[in-house]
Amino acid sequence: MNTQNNRRIVVLGNGMAGYKFCEKLIAKQLGSAIPFTLTVFGEEPRIAYDRVHLSAYFAGKTADDLALAPESWYTDNNIQLYLSDPVIAIDRDRKEVRSHHGHVVPYDYLIFATGSSAFVPQIPGVDKDGVFVYRTLEDLDLIRTYATKARHGAVLGGGLLGLEAANALLDLGLEAAHVVEFAPRLMPRQIDAAGSAILQRRLEDLGLQIHLNKSTQQLTGDGVINGMQFADGSLLSIDMLVISAGIRPRDELAKRSGLDVHPRGGIVVDNFLQTSDPAIFAIGECALVHSMIYGLVAPAYDMADVVAARLTGTEREFQPFDMSTKLKLIGVDVASFGDAFAEGDDCRTVCYENKAKGVYKRINISADGTTLLGGILVGDAAEYNQLLQVCKNKTILPPDPEDLILGNRGGEDVPGAGVMSLPDEALICSCEAVTKAQLCHEIGENGQTTIDALKKSTKACTGCGGCTPMVKDLIQAVQKQQGVYVRNVLCEHFDYTRQELLDLAKINQLTTYGAVLDTLGKGDGCEVCKPAVASILASLWNENILEKDRAPIQDSNDRYLANLQRGGTYSVVPRIPGGEITPDKLIAIGQVAKQYGLYTKITGGQRIDLFGAHVGDLPAIWEQLIAAGFESGHAYGKALRTVKSCVGTTWCRFGVQDSVSFAIEIENRYKGIRAPHKFKSGVSGCVRECAEAQSKDFGIIATDKGWNLYVGGNGGAKPQHAHLLVSDVDKATCVKLIDRFLMFYIKTADPLMRTATWINKMEGGITYLKAVVVEDSLGIAAELEGEMDALIANYSCEWKAVVESPALRQRFTHFVNAPTLKDPTVQFAPMRDQIQAQDWIR
């Protein structure tokens, strides 16, 4: 096939399948002399994005976050991409397509990846305002806008997507979210009646209202929807409806072009994904293969691979695909695998139901008890990956197969459990077809021991993400096999992690470095453990960091309570809470700067930095600043820096809350609290987010009902948006949750680990953090709040203490034998109307 004449490929559709086809094709033709020319037509205005995690868009992910590749990826790979420009006609004789905007492109091969649209049943009234589908980011934007004025919402359809949509309605602040399902149970395609009952109870606890066996007869309202009328005569009053009743393959263009299309929808293809025209293929949700539409991402990716392989010279058939799924629905695990509904003489079923905990598990075993046929897990799907592998690989079951779902209840360990017992060819990541052997090789031979590294080298975990826990297990198991024991100890002087050291210092009531080293360490310490212990002691007791033996263990900046700059001088940042400052205080800062010849600059955190201070001048500078009403800004500390604020309702015509006052309150509450690393905050008075709160370690955004609290944002080298922790809470709740969040961070993070990395590395991530901080799953919330209260109660301005203590003041000199002499090597150079540090030798 590889002649110059058949290298032109046109892809119709820029969804997940279309994108994956391009990616696979490019990878497979690497090094080929005559590359394909690829043209992609997409109907949506955006580049391909992750539709599986569409709901994450409501949880704060942006369209960019969800994008499968940056726009530059297309240009880098010479792909001609037309967005908002669907193909409207195909001339199969001339082999060319014509797009909506009139582009005519010839092809040798044409790939349909047009996906599907939402199926909208013909119920009278579906054309009313306030009726939506849940399919694209544009749909979500429309829903979000409409939701601001709606109070009662419903979702038609109790399948996976419908339940996600219902949860989204709750998250958007609707008072009530109803789920209306025609079938007698939820998720009828995945779980059985008993599993559905457990799921229903869990979802009702979370605030969803579930209506089963409901046949909708019409949607009522005058132009705008106001209710649903059911066949049983009942009525549900709502002001918005999201329809999620299944999908319809986008086959209309194929049909118009004379390709074989199934009467019930779908472009008919053979096992090679070839349509009735040999130059045309169809992949993903628009294709009907094995007489069915595969509505999952993994088979779509495999179809892309089959066609890409074919065009690059490797023929393989698309095999019937395993439709096992595991998902977390609003925090509730739901999984089904293999033959989930197996019944009859050839099958024995083991069920476990715990109504109190909301857990249901069912496994179907072959009549001879040797193989696992399939099963269902609701409420706790921890064993899913293991069971799926046992099922797929037809592993011989242990004598008591119920141990697989109930755990081993005494006796020997279950053989066959544990990820290492799987055969080498076991498919761990089905989206990208990565086997256990491949992963073990990367981990063991190439030292790829993080998920991120393995994502890069194997692409595992990059699709649905469902295999991530299993890959994590593999990393640990392979390392264990190699005799590697991973433990993050501080340094050669302490055989403890930071968290262990903090707990031990607390239990032993240690307050000095000497005592910590004597009790828990060895040697003389070093520049790694000293600042770490200094931080721990400050986080435990919040005593002045320069007293007792603690001054020499502080890091460069903390040691002199100022920021060391080029040339050996320091910069000084007084606290300006929330960025609010009076004219008198501005004048005072100006006077100090003038008197000591300091360079002044506004910082990114809405304060003023004064540069070029000699170490010996620091106490006098602070004496004047303190007299003018300033306190230390802790710009030098691994502590709260600033709480940035926008002006909020006090002046802004868009503001919905008083963000400045809240920012000042927050800054004054947490000032001086030391943590494993610096932390920043911001408070925005409305959704426009002028304070950039989502880029802070914790950020607060006003809503018209209260405040949304975000955590784990970061600027810096690896910018990261914060995760939404909780929405629409009042001030007191917000502060309480920040207390818990910060204290949990302070107690458990590694040295110099920002909150973003801490959450990224946390097992369970933001979901786990939410459970601990919001739901108090560990039962430590009261303790955390108490510890934070104690730290806050112990706050005092450390610069005030230095200014008032002759002994501490005495340490601020350059020459111990000539205290009034300044370092003569310090040089400044002119810079506009001010000074800068003399450039140093490179």
Partner: protein, 115 residues
């Protein structure tokens, strides 16, 4: 071969002027000398105050400690560490700082500089 070097002892400061397990800088004959008191080991050291990496007069404000049994100081700017015994850079760079003899007598710190 043995070389002998004549040194002259200079008074630097009182022992209490140097923080325990910390450092201080003294100006002796126009030269900036960093003095370190490793109190846990009951040892005193003196070196150049200048870090050769970016030629900053700062080592006395560095953090003391040990690697194995070797006493060291780490520069506050970029954490280059130097042996207090030999002056050799311990962070893999090709730097060397001068070290000086220290004598403690009657609560006073004396530094021996080449005559």
């Amino acid at each position: 071969m043995t070389t002998t070097e004549t040194i002259t002892w200079h008074v630097a400061c009182q022992t209490a002027d140097v923080p325990a397990d910390g450092g201080a800088c003294a100006l002796i004959n126009g030269r900036q000398i960093a003095i370190f008191h490793l109190a846990r080991r009951n040892e005193w050291y003196a070196t150049d105050n200048q870090c050769p990496h970016r030629q900053q007069m700062i080592l006395s404000r560095g953090m003391t400690g040990s690697v194995g049994d070797e006493p060291k100081v780490a520069c506050p700017f970029h954490k280059k560490a130097f042996s207090l015994k030999t002056g050799a850079c311990l962070s893999g760079d090709d730097y060397q700082i001068d070290t000086f003899a220290v004598r403690i007598e009657n609560g006073m710190v004396y530094i021996g500089l080449p005559a």
